[in-house]
Symmetry: C2
Subunit: 233 residues, 2 copies
């Protein structure tokens, strides 16, 4: 049941999609939605800051994936250094995610919008919580105080599977966020087939494709022969 | 990297979640949304018929999964019979999906609502198309005229992977649909923390959990020792 394809070309495609998606979000926020701010009379600018941070958060797995394939596999780094790269990148992603969520609450509170009523918000809180639990569990088992080799090798496939699960949820929740925000804007009068609506929908499509190619890269083979990073952690 | 857990208990959980989700959709449609119809003065009833059909469509993989584990693996059926069960169940799912999409167009056209402007509709058309392509490709390669054993064994992991990919997209798009419809209803005045909103959001949560447990079941080990169904197809 091996898929037997090389992951390297897919990682380039995933990165290209990540950059395309990030540029599309920036065009949306800066050109159509009037920019970003943390303190602003126009509270929507705080929401835009949120979009920016969440986008950063979603890009982190690609950054990590880069480090996995090019530093984990090919750079002559010690295993412990590679683990530190892994856990630091994910810590950054979690912090960015928390800043994004804080921006959402700040925007809602200052605009008298209800908090935590939508599926997007429920899943967002769930995902950041699962992500945090995954990080702490990984830190304890694989880094410090570190479980026995048996425990680590038994935990590893679950760590990978749970990571992929949380990642798919995060990509799906990004799509929910794009749809929710665009539905609000269309209710307030922007054209359903207008340029902004098409931009947002295509950004969501690019995000989903990006997520698919990241997962496909993870399932593919590493470019270097020495493919024991998983088993040797 | 083997996960090494038994799939059987998870399939019960997946089925329980499928039933719970189906009951929740029926309560929503029948109690809160006034029932279902194909021809109706109240065009929303056509939309409700759509919801019902789409739910049936999403339940099909569970039905198939059942057949996989209990007829593919444990019943003394010939391999060709098992394949027929597989392709017939998926054909039913595709037909139900098409009926659902037809109901959406019918509702939109009769209510003068624009078609195909939302992310949910774009993904829906994409998913049913990919699903149809997957079915035709599977039929040609694995059933009739049937490729060589080498071709079949090379195609099989991609067939499984693409099937899982389309399934995850379908579950995600179901969540988008719940969010979109609820956002419309909330814009029209239903309470954001009211019983209907909570019911719809929890239905979406149950749907996502259901999808996760179906995937987890697929990744688990079959209950019967004879686990060569994949390689021997």
């Amino acid at each position: 049941m091996a898929l037997g394809f090389r992951a390297l070309p897919l990682t380039f495609l995933a990165h290209a999609l990540a950059i395309a998606g990030a540029v599309m979000v920036l065009v949306w926020v800066l050109y159509y939605r009037g920019g970003m701010a943390w303190e602003a009379a126009n509270k929507n600018l705080i929401f835009n800051a949120l979009e920016h941070f969440k986008r950063d958060c979603r890009r982190m797995p690609a950054v990590f994936h880069d480090s996995w394939h090019f530093s984990y596999k090919s750079l002559p780094l010690k295993k412990e250094v590679k683990k530190v790269v892994h856990l630091v990148l994910h810590a950054i992603a979690i912090i960015l995610g928390c800043v994004g969520i804080a921006a959402a609450f700040k925007n809602h509170n200052e605009s008298n919008i209800a908090n935590l009523y939508s599926l997007h918000s429920w899943l967002g809180i769930t995902i950041i919580s699962l992500y945090g639990i995954q990080w702490i569990y990984g830190f304890l088992v694989f880094f410090y105080p570190k479980g026995s080799p048996t425990l680590r090798s038994e935990c590893l496939p679950w760590h990978v599977l749970f990571g992929i699960f949380v990642y798919i949820l995060a990509v799906g929740n990004a799509a929910l966020g794009f749809l929710e925000k665009l539905t609000f804007l269309e209710s307030s009068g922007i054209a359903k087939y207008g340029p902004e609506a098409l931009l947002v929908n295509f950004t969501a499509v690019v995000t989903v494709l990006y997520g698919a190619f990241v997962i496909l890269s993870v399932l593919g083979q590493a470019p270097i022969e020495d493919d024991d990073s998983y088993s040797a952690i």
